[in-house]
Symmetry: C2
Subunit: 720 residues, 2 copies
Amino acid sequence: MKAYLVFFFTVIVCCAVAQSPSVMPLPAKYKTHGNDFRLSTSFQIEIKGNPDPRIYKEASRFMQRVAEKTGLFFKTWMVGSESNIKEKGLTIIVKEKGEIKLGVDESYALQIDKNQILLTCNNDIGAIRGLETLMQLIQSDANGYFFKGMSIEDEPRFPWRGLLISQPYHFMPMDVIKRTLDAMAAVKMNVLHFYISDDQGYRIESKVYPRLHEVASDGMYFTHEQVREMIDYAHQRGIRVVPEIDVPGHSTAMIFAYPHLASIQRQYALQDHWGVFDPTLDPTKSTTYTFLDSLLTEVASLFPDQYFHIGGDENTGRDWKKNPSIQSFMKENGFKTTLQLQNYFNRKVQSILQKNGKIAIGWDEVLMKELSTAEAKQYFEEGNYHMLVEKDVPKDIVIQSWRGMEALLSSAKNGYKSILSKGYYIDLVQPASYHYLTDPIPFRNEVIVPDSEANFDRFESEIIKKIKQGEKLITKEEEKLILGGEATMWTEHVSAETFDSRVWPRTAAIAERLWSPADVRDVEDMYRRLDGISVYLESLGLTHIKNRDMMLRRLTGKEDVTSLSNLVQLLEPVQGYKRNRADNFTRFSPYSLLADIAVPDQKAVRLAKKQLATYDSNQDDVQLVEIENLFNSWKKDAAQATIDIQNIPALQDFKPHAISLAAIAELGLNAISSSKDKSLQQKFTTQQIELILKKANEEAGYCELKIVEPFRSFLERLLK
Amino acid sequence: MKAYLVFFFTVIVCCAVAQSPSVMPLPAKYKTHGNDFRLSTSFQIEIKGNPDPRIYKEASRFMQRVAEKTGLFFKTWMVGSESNIKEKGLTIIVKEKGEIKLGVDESYALQIDKNQILLTCNNDIGAIRGLETLMQLIQSDANGYFFKGMSIEDEPRFPWRGLLISQPYHFMPMDVIKRTLDAMAAVKMNVLHFYISDDQGYRIESKVYPRLHEVASDGMYFTHEQVREMIDYAHQRGIRVVPEIDVPGHSTAMIFAYPHLASIQRQYALQDHWGVFDPTLDPTKSTTYTFLDSLLTEVASLFPDQYFHIGGDENTGRDWKKNPSIQSFMKENGFKTTLQLQNYFNRKVQSILQKNGKIAIGWDEVLMKELSTAEAKQYFEEGNYHMLVEKDVPKDIVIQSWRGMEALLSSAKNGYKSILSKGYYIDLVQPASYHYLTDPIPFRNEVIVPDSEANFDRFESEIIKKIKQGEKLITKEEEKLILGGEATMWTEHVSAETFDSRVWPRTAAIAERLWSPADVRDVEDMYRRLDGISVYLESLGLTHIKNRDMMLRRLTGKEDVTSLSNLVQLLEPVQGYKRNRADNFTRFSPYSLLADIAVPDQKAVRLAKKQLATYDSNQDDVQLVEIENLFNSWKKDAAQATIDIQNIPALQDFKPHAISLAAIAELGLNAISSSKDKSLQQKFTTQQIELILKKANEEAGYCELKIVEPFRSFLERLLK
């Protein structure tokens, strides 16, 4: 009875606190009132004004989604220009057609009243954003479904909110791309960065250089019609598609298909491994530019967006240094570093793009000056706080920063536009909270985020020092040059089966960072809404939840995998680049094992951590009973999992984790018993405990049991 | 301890019985020996002979699937003509290129020995079938993965093993079609019957009559390139694709796009509802044939298969009777029935197909003579046992029978080829056992299957009577005219989310019926293998298991749906055409509710039934303890489910079932208690029990609780 009362009280306290609406990203402004709009089968949508027809399709899709969520039998889902509300419904008022381009007005206002919902916006893209907000606002009670009475005024903080998908490593087929676009639209992202070419493959059809897809794709590529299908699908959702052809490095596939492009003549093959490789286009030969002119012109005509990414990253320069004729060329032209030669190359590529009406984007290297560590040190000691940039880089190039602060700052200080990706590398399977707190304008003390595991920015610490000293490094005007950010899904360690669970739901946190006001930074509230959004996104076909058990079933061959599933939810894949070590993985590796089934930032881990962390020995016993239940469930799952993996070699990576979980559960149960009854002997010595916890912290199968440290801290508090 | 011993003994007994290999369809001949082939990372495939290159792709796909199942890190998955085994591996020997056409040799021989696996076949299509067998044979023990030493000689019983997918009702996008083709290949089916046109929509692009896709598809159609993509994907797996353009009935979409085709001029629109409708092409106008000539020629050139389905079913004839000019035409030509007019129409359509080198297929109506019931009765009484057919129907037409025995028999007796679909209507959500026992040659006493719920065959009982009297109705030669069968997935009551769970795993039972020898008819063994195949098929991307919980999560908005999921596994959607009543459903209905989440032929129901049915009061108590556990789990799930559905209107259909399950569990637990301790009073009167069971048998949300009758029988045995 006591437990019940406590539970009841907790609920009351919870409800009394005004929660933000369970919407992600959180709208810029919102205000609730009491007049809810109740949904019924007579609900209809009408659209007024002068919109692009895409809004009719999106409104029809909205009707279908509402029907599937609520079970309401509407007479029709179809919404057209002639649709009229007979009883109650949603009126969308759109002033003009929206253009799918950078900077288009995406704002909307939503007014939910008892008898009407009004969605007002400048263009249909704003309307699409507003529909996605409304969709997330559906609630229900015993009487039916309703939208809470409220008014919302919303617009994005940044105009560039992207997701990069790399196709060369693991190819993601059309259905993966489409459901990703659906999910992006659901969280109001507006750029798909479609990364086409790398050392492992070239992934779209080329009619001008057909060996690119015939020879350098292993049959995995999009035809022109499929590219158009993807772009149409994206545009329908108000999402731009920006292509990237990465040159002059990352070009083994291109060279494998057309060896005359190479800086060094050797035997080429598609690269099976992951990493940075030497093959590089020869920037001194006119035939290289003839090739790029035809190819980029073809690709540029296929992708209507004004921006075109030319890569430019991670050119090792080694092949250029090996080739005497390239070396002479550098001398003749006064290029001291290979980066200067690359800048020469970039300018030529950029002029091809300009001819095609395109604006180039490149990674940090297309702008940054190459300094030795000593030079850089001196430069900073002289009081400079941003990097030197190369001369002669056209001012309209956009810098996509994988290095973070240094590149952002240098770009802005030199008048270049930029987008941030460092801190949004979702392939590194870090927690959503880290990405969430990474701000695209990281130059204020309040928004500095501790180093991630992937810090490529040699001078970040210098910059942070200055910020902490209160220096204002960047003006309001310069800040405006930072267009937003892009989450990057480099697909080395994902398959089409695991792609969703590496991208979602964490990317929704990045989407909120890029859309919502800068001061929306409450991590706990973000996680509350993220857990909801995670389930919500499944309706769009995402497999991030449901493929876990499917993959376990493949390995066990059995339908019931409850215990293994519970165990794996306490494990997370190793973060950062730890999976790259020892060169174990290639594009022919199975991505169907423990580290692929476990997902980053597990909800069950967060909940367990919270439960253990909030234990307070001065409180009553209810908490302890619940923790005892938790340990008992761990014990049971560990035991059953141990049975389930017998005779299944592919599941042996689970074994040490199951053993550790069982041991921890036993430790915990024993400690709880002896804390309740002081006459009972502690079964384990401090040394034994330390040994168990040390063992439990060990990685196995590229995974870590993530509840060890919170458990240790709980144990210390319990036993003190 | 006693329980443990019993369990141990059962296992021993089980293992002592020689089980058929867990392969589906079961091979024609197989024999095991002791020399297993152990898999290691050095496993390779080499291919000798003169195959079509498609086998390299399939062998590469095989390597990938093995890697993902076993976790083995092979050096590469790629298999080419130059691939050579270095250590141990699979040698495929292929005599010649296989042609994707009816009757191609699909046989193969598989020899698994300690140091080599040998797959020998006449052509690469046989090799593809053999690879699918091998894939299913992977086993593991503590030492690793292996193939059991055995030899297999296998070939199909029927050359036509198809699955029909209707695109007009609910459109299935490319990813659904592709994973269906993967699953079909896994169970050795070889025909995708692609049903394009009906009253609700026209689903492929037409360049000659673009209004067909522009106006009559709501944007849901395959482009020519997509059709080719689908066909390539199918051919890669040794699967033919046969198109169907259903004429002259089922043609509202066609008429909506091109109203001049109509027999009656009225306002046309795409049909929203399901059923049989009057709109029919006008068979008397030359413009109708001009249209069909161009259209069918276009479609014929798109689908390379030699067969082309022209439908011909369910023409109500009403529009023809209403049109005076069509009536005069009939009189002029001496047509007494509309079916005769349709035969005239068919002949003209067939000549268009012949011109295009195609052989026509049609439903029963294209051949059968229309008899009144009185005429038919007399005809049978005169001793005839097969139906009359129309004269002048060209002999090369193939009859696809949705009526069953009467059509099969009439076709064969008159020298027509046929394929059976009656009994394979998987959209009617009947148990796999029913489909499994339905034989394409049903004219022997041993293979007669009781009437299904969808019996359209007015004279089946007459035919069955004759068979039971021992009459031999069909000769061996006539039997050969029966080419096989087709499962039909009419998509009225499925969405892209539920498609897989309505098709799989049950269709695997039909695939076995059509492939394996006629005497492979052991239902229990079929289910044992079907449960395995069900999990196996998931690896191909099928959603038939994983979408259950996803759909529950959409409705609850919560991640944990364990109890609802357990409850729904005891429920099955109503069978046959019961969901069509009251005209509730249209193409704008939500197919996301209880009857869509519940799947046919639930495994949990089968297991519970078996557990309850095998209870023997003379045995020891172990069985009863397990049944008690079962009832306790029902009780717990019913209670939790009742909480979970609170305030969620779309889940209220679960409520009566949860109440019934709780009541049954309570009944059962009470009965077990009182059976154990005779001094305890039975809490429930016979009347109360009857009331509870009656209530529990009531349908709710188009679903039935399927454990009521086995429970009743258990209760009677327990309490007697």
